[in-house]
């Protein structure tokens, strides 16, 4: 089983140009990262492009990873998610072949993920539960679906500025809860 320490080691080796480590990291993490791309883009071809861009970026930026203080999976997922959302924002009309994708709905984390992230996961989820349900839903929508303020406002049937105010207040409450 690949541990977090293994992934950290792979990233460090990629930072000095180790292609074997790059291949190992791809094998260990591409399914998770592809899942993130698919979740945001709902389109296989675009998700493949996003994953490619993510791994190119990982190769290019691995040498600065150690200095940024991120845990390895957070770094990989954040980098990938941001690229996928860039792609989402760049396209005009939303693609709609979600039906092609088998069962992307929530499933439990793998044992490995659970072991690593259990406490943080419990924390963010518990903190989201302290928010009003629709506001927690908006935060999840922004994170997991890459929804923009406009899309969140539309989905929740509120004006854009109202959504912005909601969300900023929710973020402050979340922060307060996470800092406890």
């Amino acid at each position: 089983m690949t541990t977090i320490a293994d992934i950290e080691e792979m990233i460090a080796r990629i930072g000095i140009g180790d292609r074997k480590a790059f291949a190992s990291l791809y094998d260990a993490t591409s399914a998770k990262l592809f899942g993130v791309c698919l979740r945001i883009l709902n389109n296989r071809a675009e998700a493949e492009d996003a994953l490619q861009e993510a791994f190119v970026r990982i190769w290019q930026k691995a040498d600065s990873y150690a200095a940024n203080g991120y845990s390895p999976m957070t770094w990989l997922i954040t980098l990938t998610r941001n690229l996928a959302i860039d792609k989402l924002r760049a396209r005009k009309a939303p693609a709609d072949d979600i039906d092609d994708i088998p069962d992307l709905s929530a499933s439990g984390p793998t044992p490995e993920e659970a072991a690593v992230a259990a406490s943080e996961a419990a924390r963010i989820k518990a903190c989201l539960d302290e928010l009003e349900a629709d506001r927690a839903h908006a935060v999840r929508g922004a994170y997991l679906e890459g929804e923009s303020y406009q899309e969140l406002a539309d989905h929740h049937g509120v004006p854009l500025n109202t959504m912005r105010t909601w969300l900023r207040r929710s973020l402050l409450k979340l922060k307060e809860c996470l800092s406890r």
Binding site: G35, P102, R168
Partner: protein
């Protein structure tokens, strides 16, 4: 979450919006400019990223199509393929690909230019790299004016279908750093990146047997054929 305690509410919310990717392009760019200058803001963003990432636990892994890995590796590594790399003064950059930053590569192009600058003061270095059985002997002399090693291969050659790659092992270092693949010519010049010049003092040069284009891993993969300690003159 402790590092962000002294941040004002605007920055806390702003960093959260950035982490969620809710800012428009201009605001995003402005935030990134601040990030570059403000370590406290980077810590705040990291807290958000680490906090939110647990939401991705609910994203089910999906194996990407098999062809994608090849496609990515092709996109990344084709540039260092010796079949497509343009020869640059007989020195292949292939072995250094990825191990050095673009800045260092630029530097090497600069030092490969005609020697118009004055010779800076400082020690110079020589080494004789030899196989135990003398089947490969390469003499190296550091040319301070060019920031390059002048190499003279007085005996031996690469194996058929293989190349010779030059490595520098700094004193006390655990791993060698590639100085590049040696050209087929008997005499060759290999630029030494500025940040490695100091490592020549007390260092060791080595030559390994590698596939065309140089070591794919950034570390020697084949047999070490010749070794020599660097002498300071």
């Amino acid at each position: 979450m402790s590092q962000a305690d002294d941040h004002d509410e605007d920055d806390i919310a702003l960093a959260g919006e950035y982490a969620l990717h809710l800012l428009d392009a201009d605001a995003r760019l402005a935030f990134e400019r601040r990030l570059a200058a403000e370590p406290g803001l980077r810590a705040l963003l990291r807290d958000w990223d680490e906090g939110f990432v647990a939401l991705a636990d609910d994203v089910k892994p999906v194996a990407p199509p098999r062809k994608l890995k090849k496609r990515i590796e092709r996109a990344l590594f084709r540039a260092s393929d010796p079949r497509s790399a343009a020869p640059r003064r007989g020195f292949s950059l292939g072995g250094l690909f990825g191990a050095l930053t673009a800045a260092v590569l630029m530097l090497m192009l600069v030092v490969a230019l005609p020697e118009t600058r004055l010779t800076p003061p400082g020690p110079t270095y020589t080494a004789e790299l030899a196989a135990d059985d003398q089947s490969l002997i390469v003499r190296a002399r550091f040319d301070r004016a060019a920031n390059a090693l002048r190499l003279d291969r007085v005996a031996g050659d690469a194996l058929p279908g293989r190349v010779l790659e030059l490595w520098l092992i700094a004193e006390g270092a655990s791993a060698p750093v590639s100085l590049g693949v040696l050209p087929a010519d008997q005499r060759a010049t290999v630029a030494v990146p500025d940040d490695l010049i100091a490592a020549l003092a007390g260092g060791t040069l080595a030559i390994s047997d590698e596939p065309p284009g140089g070591s794919p891993t950034g570390q020697p993969t084949g047999a070490v054929l010749a070794v020599g300690a660097v002498t300071t003159l």
